[in-house]
Point group: C2
């Protein structure tokens, strides 16, 4: 048995290509609705050739979700660190999530649909990264809205994710920049609504 290369090292272009194609297919037809044959076909090789790159269908999914979670979390940490005020940090977080959602709609879709198909070793790690990402938001928000208790901030964070991740549903309604601006304003306003009523 050839030991599979550790998830994030040396992103052989072929692996990336496969992951990208698989993400699109998973987003469209779902994990169980997509066959190994289809994924291979999407990158010009056929079926079992995938096993030269991944140890199986679920490990492909695990790696995909792990990668997404790492990117979201990593970029969040980076942006928050760079920011000088909490308000600035929040805008950076919102902007980062919007960019990711607009650039990779398939990844966003797979990210919150398919965690249930990842088996336990990897599952926990993905959840951990997701939790860390949420806490990044909660930390910033608790500075801006100190009167809202953490559970409320967590629920609000998920609500904002739902709002921002809606882009795959309204694809094509607006040009990208307009969509980004609209989502940014709505997200900021939604959070502002935590403490002010109209």
């Amino acid at each position: 048995m050839t030991v599979m290369r550790s998830p994030t090292r040396v992103p052989s272009p072929r692996r990336r290509e496969i992951l990208d194609a698989a993400a699109t297919l998973f987003a469209a037809r779902g994990f169980h609705g997509t066959s190994i044959e289809e994924i291979g076909g999407a990158v010009g090789i056929s079926g079992p050739a995938l096993y030269r790159h991944f140890s199986g269908k679920v490990s492909l999914l695990s790696e995909m979700l792990l990668d997404i979670s790492e990117r979201l979390r990593g970029s969040a940490v980076e942006r928050v660190t760079r920011a000088e005020t909490a308000a600035e940090a929040l805008d950076a977080l919102i902007g980062g999530q919007i960019d990711f959602a607009l650039d990779h709609p398939a990844l966003i879709t797979v990210h919150d649909r398919e965690l249930g198909n990842v088996p336990e070793p990897a599952r926990r790690q993905i959840r951990r990264l997701q939790r860390l990402y949420v806490e990044e938001w909660v930390t910033v928000l608790s500075e801006l809205y100190p009167d809202v208790p953490p559970p409320g901030l967590r629920a609000a964070t998920h609500a904002v994710f739902g709002l921002l991740n809606s882009t795959p549903h309204s694809a094509g309604e607006l040009p990208r920049e307009a969509m980004a601006a609209l989502l940014h304003r709505m997200a900021r306003a939604a959070l502002f609504g935590l403490v002010n009523q109209y």
Copy 2:
């Protein structure tokens, strides 16, 4: 061949029971990840007995999504009709969506994950109902925000759906009433953000 009872008439308790169980399973494991055997097992009968009630797995899903879309659309029309002002109508729409999402998280989850598995005759009808539901919102919103062009209002509507439908993700963070209130405030504020910035 016994002709299947027309979708929405005489909701035989057994059918409802099966649809409910299936919704929970579909939400948890996905359509393709759920077997006929599991659905039967969840209501105490086993496997092929389902064919006494539905003509097949996909028709079960079709009926489920059709029912959800009809209920959402129907309740929206009703609420908007009853309202006296546009602002009141909007609050009624928001409240209706929140109640539905909190009362039937599985249905909400299935509703926007599994349309892709419904084959073409029913698919179009479901999409039609969804579109009508969205337009119900857009009509109300265009009265409140006449300066925002329809595509923007549609995108905003989808964004608000994403926000409100986030409850399955933040399950248990807050007691139901607190969650409902928080989502309502955030949704109203998010829409207000369409025209005012902070």
